[in-house]
Subunit: 383 residues, 2 copies
């Protein structure tokens, strides 16, 4: 790589003890650049590296290992490899788990393994397998992180994963929240004490992670489910993205760029949404009546404690901001947004029309929105 040595020399002069950058592979160098851009911890702290055994997460782990051994990451950074067997592939899943544990051992890191019953969760939560697997995985990573006192979980999602996510969101007809794809850094869950970071998301191509693993003498595992075209994501990966690339060789990068712009838009709209929710709940007439009708909003325990919203304030709001506000309000009241579609939000907006109260919009999962006395009330019915 031209200029790498010169940069390495400068690096040595400027950073004293650190090894020159030239000692890193080009892949690890890119990871390090992104690491700094995302302001991930480099001097102290515990990191969880999620590893499936596939090329992407292996490449991430190997690059983190390079960064530690080349002292880009200081010795105070402690890595734990985390692997979840989703319990979907029997012996093959168990073999992957052993393989990841062995790789971690050879590299000198602790490996935390877990086993889940994704199929059971899918039935229980009425999710598809992919959603259920994701839910189990992130819960597992949260448990591992908290048990080890780690503040950051790293996953190996790549630019290709981002492009697939965008296409899948488009196929569902999602708005900016879905089309914005994954964030390079976000909180892992609502507890907010663990960050989820994806240092490959902004730049790494899947072909690059596989090539880098081979360069490092590692042959990653192949997950047969990644080849199974009954999964939409696999067909997007194998059929749709290659076709998009015939139309624009940099289509994957273009999709990721679009997603980034939409994430920025979403963040701006979230600010407006927070203002609107505060204003709609702050309706001055509300306080007087609130105590008297508290039973209206606390019928089913904690999940149900959201303030009613002023019809007038909602009516005067911009439609995109109002829809976001309604979704956030439902999420706060109901605990989640599963199966809430645009049609439900439109039905709630219908309640805002005209002067007549007493009307009801039903939501999936025994939840309803009632318009009464100039406000919308969210009620979760007793199971």
């Amino acid at each position: 790589m031209p200029g790498a040595n010169a940069a390495g020399e400068r690096g040595k002069l400027m950073r004293g003890e650190q090894q020159p950058l030239a000692k890193l592979s080009p892949f690890a160098r890119e990871v390090w650049r992104e690491w700094q851009r995302l302001v991930l911890p480099a001097s102290v702290g515990r990191l969880i590296v999620a590893a499936s055994g596939g090329a992407d997460s292996c490449a991430l782990l190997l690059a983190v290992d390079e960064l530690l051994k080349a002292r880009r990451l200081a010795a105070g950074v402690c890595v734990v490899v985390a692997h979840l067997d989703h319990g979907l592939r029997g012996a093959a899943g168990a073999a992957d788990a052993r393989w990841v544990a062995e790789l971690a051992r050879r590299l000198g890191y602790e490996c935390a393994s877990g086993r889940a019953s994704v199929a059971g969760r899918a039935r229980r939560e009425r999710d598809n397998l992919e959603q259920a697997a994701r839910g189990e995985r992130y819960e597992f990573l949260g448990r591992v992180a908290r048990a080890r006192g780690a503040g950051v979980v790293l996953t190996g999602h790549t630019l290709d994963d981002q492009a697939e996510t965008v296409v899948l969101a488009l196929l569902r007809g999602s708005g900016a929240a879905g089309l914005g794809g994954m964030s390079p850094v976000r909180t892992l869950d609502e507890r907010g004490d663990v960050q989820l970071a994806r240092p490959l998301l902004g730049w790494a191509r899947r072909a690059g992670t596989a090539a880098y693993c081979r360069e490092q003498g590692i042959e990653p595992r192949v997950d047969a489910m990644n080849e199974d075209e009954s999964f939409k994501r696999v067909r997007v990966r194998r059929q749709l993205l290659p076709l998009l690339e015939t139309l624009n060789p940099r289509a994957v990068e273009a999709l990721a760029r679009a997603a980034g712009l939409l994430r920025d838009d979403s963040a701006a709209l979230d600010e407006e949404t927070a203002k609107l929710l505060a204003e709609a709940a702050r309706d001055p007439k509300l306080k007087l009546e609130k105590a008297a009708h508290a039973s209206d909003v606390v019928a089913a325990g904690d999940g149900n404690k959201v303030a009613p919203l002023s019809v007038e304030v909602l009516r005067g709001a911009n439609v995109a901001v109002r829809r976001r506000a309604l979704r956030q309000w439902i999420k706060a009241g109901r605990g989640h947004l599963r199966r809430v579609e645009l049609v439900h939000v439109l039905a709630i907006e219908k309640l805002l029309e005209g002067e007549r109260g007493g009307r009801v919009a039903e939501l999936p999962g025994a939840c309803e929105i009632v318009r009464r006395r100039g406000r919308l009330w969210l009620r979760v019915k007793e199971p």
Copy 2:
């Protein structure tokens, strides 16, 4: 269609003189529903119907004709058919023009025809053929509308066109402005006195327009350029959308729904953008210095008269809103946004960093942004 007669009877009772809805074909009935939803003029006024001779615009014209003959549209509504020969297809283009004129004559409407040199415009404006054709077409429609005193121009864009537009925007890596696709109603151009309306955009599939034309005994023209796979749009139509439909049979509808959500988001962000621009230009310290340095902003005539923007106000703004504001400001100062990419906006944002003024960001087309005395100034250089 079940229930159509009952609806027709109700229609007769409610609307007095009007014919029952049952007299309309299902296609025209959908057009009429959308007509009412978009609040297009139904009792009086001149309408321009843009007609290429292809199935979509023919279907629109035939449906409008049905609406007039069934008196959904009152006799006070006067239709003018407008056809532009783009000058790209020689004798075939001239034949299309004659065919459209003959169809208009048979239906009993005036036909306004024009001929453009799209290739010349493309060279002049350094646009591609599709952009140049669109520019010529909308200018022509504006001239026809104004010459006839028409307030509305109708085009036959369908749900398929919308889906293609969204995919093409995604391939360019566009944000919400591009991914939002076409609006069902907007002003035709910046003069704001003519509306452009697309009564097929929200629901009609291309297969449906062709079938409807045939039902009405019309065999629409086929534009060979619509089959030419050297155009990206044609490949999106013929290769990509069919593949998306194997993943979701209602993919075209999903793409259009996503676009609608993003248009709503854009409208919300546009409100915030307008507030930010007003605030950034209203900087209190600015008025004092403005007169003294007027030469800074009026170097190249009318195109250059935009107020400088406060660095401090821009710095404090949300990033998505700020980027929109900068783009709008450039458009106001420079007259257009051609060839202005995200990288240029990022370069302008760089100027906002730190305390140092005197720095410059270059834009394509002899335009530059200078940071000086706590403001950004837009300068269009003399040609």
